[in-house]
Symmetry: C2
Subunit: 432 residues, 2 copies
């Protein structure tokens, strides 16, 4: 055991919630298997969490205890700091910085931390010659960081896209399945533990946007630009939207899209219509899917569990085994210093749009809508009027491709007329 490459890789685990407990279980369950594959044993030497007393259903007796994540990160007997506490600042950030400063590798599941501080942490890690890995931070157990940053690294990436929040996808598919409306399904999701007591991070699209910002940096060699993500949650999506989209062969998904346009990086996390027949359109429940498109690969879709104890632990173990094997790829696929600031694309690429208007029941209403659209050179591909909802008649329009700016001004104008009883809903139709 004198060869350092054969010595155990010693882990300091910060955070003993669902994910932390999963990591302990996996390391204990597969010690032999992991040692064979990693070429050396993985051993947890110390752990840290808020409460020492709490029973987490795992045996921690063999591990040293630290009350403080920073102290854990600095321990002389720790080679890798595993951060599964969460939070974009506080102990997660302090512990990660301390670990890097002390020359320890870092494995984290913390998308918020990296979306905010990824560039600085990546630079620090490279300066210290340590690995900073985060497979568990994006799409749970799906090895998408590895696929994008390693397997497909020879490609010029053209688009990265995906459903990356299980809570939102669960809510949208349950609304469709049960016919219940948003608020009721959300309440169920909270009872089932799929949604937090404060769901805004999930349903507001912020959690998924954190993930998209990391994928963008990796895909396009740009500095992480979370503030550059156009974020829209699923709170406004109604049952009629879901039903009428389905009626036209589409499904509504909270879809993240990152694309490099001539004028800069386009990053969107918003409800979109996708073809029912596409892999992403088929996605049900808490499953995640990420589509990676490159100039030589064309498109690859990775699909699997986006969250949960086992899948997230699986991703963390993958990173730990890479480190044990001596792999050290820059966090964002190339030296952090070489990442370019992301110029932001204005408006984004043109797309077909789904528009839903609750028409006031009076003559000539539809004509006025059509006139406004025509005036903005937005041509109509499909239009359907549905039975009355109370006083109004819902009209659904699918347009031919139009860019965001033009669509926005048309909507504003329509909203200004007296034709619509509610603010018109407009959702992009993303082709897959």
């Amino acid at each position: 055991m004198s060869d350092p490459a054969k010595r155990p890789l010693r882990i300091g685990l910060a955070g003993l919630g669902t994910v932390g407990a999963g990591v302990v279980k996996m390391v204990q369950t597969h010690a032999e298997l992991i040692a064979a594959r990693a070429g050396r044993p993985l051993s947890i030497v110390a752990v840290s969490a808020r409460s020492r007393a709490k029973d987490r259903g795992v045996d921690l007796s063999a591990y040293a205890w630290e009350d403080d994540a920073v102290a854990l990160a600095r321990r002389a007997d720790v080679d890798v700091f595993v951060e599964v506490m969460g939070g974009e600042n506080g102990p997660a950030k302090a512990g990660t910085q301390a670990a890097i400063a002390a020359g320890k590798h870092v494995v984290t599941a913390n998308k918020a931390l990296l979306a905010r501080h990824g560039q600085a942490l990546a630079e620090a890690a490279e300066a210290a010659g340590v690995a900073l890995r985060y497979e568990a931070a994006v799409a749970g157990g799906i090895p998408v960081i590895k696929a994008l940053g390693e397997g497909l690294a020879g490609n010029g990436i053209t688009r990265v896209m995906g459903v990356m929040n299980g809570t939102c996808n669960y809510i949208l598919t349950e609304m469709e399945k049960t016919g219940a409306d948003y608020a009721d399904v959300l309440a169920d999701a909270q009872r089932l533990g799929y949604a937090e007591a404060d769901p805004s991070f999930d349903v507001g699209g912020i959690d998924a946007a954190h993930k998209l910002a990391l994928l963008s940096a990796l895909a396009f060699g740009t500095k992480v630009d979370f503030d550059g993500v156009a974020i829209e949650g699923i709170e406004r999506i109604t049952l009629p939207d879901i039903e009428q989209a389905a009626d036209m062969g589409y499904r509504i998904k909270l879809l993240g899209v990152a694309r490099m346009n001539a004028d800069g990086l386009e990053q969107r996390m918003q409800p979109c219509l996708v073809p029912l027949s596409s892999p992403v359109g088929q996605l049900d429940g808490v499953t995640n899917a990420v589509v990676i498109e490159g100039d030589f690969i064309k498109g690859v879709t990775l699909q699997g569990p986006g969250a949960g104890e086992g899948p997230t632990a699986s991703a963390i173990l993958g990173d730990l085994i890479d480190i044990a094997r001596g792999l050290n790829v820059p966090a964002f696929g190339q030296p952090a210093a070489s990442l370019k600031p992301a110029a932001r694309s204005s408006g984004g690429t043109a797309a077909a749009w789904y528009i839903r208007i609750l028409l006031r029941d009076a003559p000539g209403m539809l004509a006025r809508v059509a006139t406004v659209l025509g005036g903005h050179e937005i041509s109509i591909n499909m239009m359907r009027q549905y039975g009355h909802e109370g006083p109004g008649a819902p009209v659904v329009i699918v347009t031919h491709p139009a860019d965001t700016a033009r669509m926005q001004s048309a909507l504003t104008e329509i909203d200004g007329l007296e034709v619509s009883l509610a603010a018109p809903v407009a959702l992009r139709i993303e082709t897959l």
Copy 2:
């Protein structure tokens, strides 16, 4: 450039067919991008192929030429030998062996070579301290070797499964779409270049079985055992089979399944019924999909182009970038010497079966079939009789789970009776 880790990684490319030309295009197109991601330039220094004269649509003038792959492999200025010639012996094998003996890394797309000689080559590579990588050999551009051997390496793998031959999937989906029969669609596929002049490797399931044997070794830590794969091609699949399977909510796929049972490793490459609604059931045309199931990850599905110039080159570039970055994972995920001989599972796990019998048009025929099945304790889940085909009446039966041995003896007995006008067709129904 004195730091060896920053010096260009020098490539000797053996084979200039579709894949070889794709590698040249990718290296030339993305030189800068690849250097940024790999941390050093990738440069092709020498190439080798059958005919030097042939125009391959790529500029080879900057590269030295070798008539002989072995000479190419031994060149002092080559760091990595890229083998895209194909063939399980001959120059592919000789060149690969020579490269390893000379201390060069090897990247190959050659599933036949590895299915036959993978163990010996992996041992030689590890003894020489060089990498032996083969992402392009399985499922084309889909980074499945990386996902299984690295990203999911912390899992106890329970099942690996997939559609890994685009030609077969194209033929089966075309039969379904066009209603044409096997022979006609195969002829079209040959015209379109999707199928070789001698299609037996593809439609006979051998090509896909090569790939499955590699996945099994990686998944279960066993020595590659190609001869242990139960192989059945798609030649016997008829249009009525496809239509009647669909009628019951299934699709027929040439499906590879590897599973570790109590009595040993189960490896099957054969036409199976899969649920229409499953990701694999949705698969059309030449697309491949691989499902990896593990005890912590549950299931991950990777889907994408299983062949073609771009996707295959993408997989080879991924391997080359890994090598440039200094990654050296054992070929089958753990030291070759530690791989165990694969005990072969007899019969394999029980499954529901689809049985198709062309009943002779006489009283009591169906009763006799049901009696035989009952006698073998195979109970019937669904049974449907269809309109006459000539003299016979096709009857389709879906059974409850029964193991292979029991099903085989029942079929033999049914075949022996005078009830069936043709040998009964039996296909496993694989749950996903």
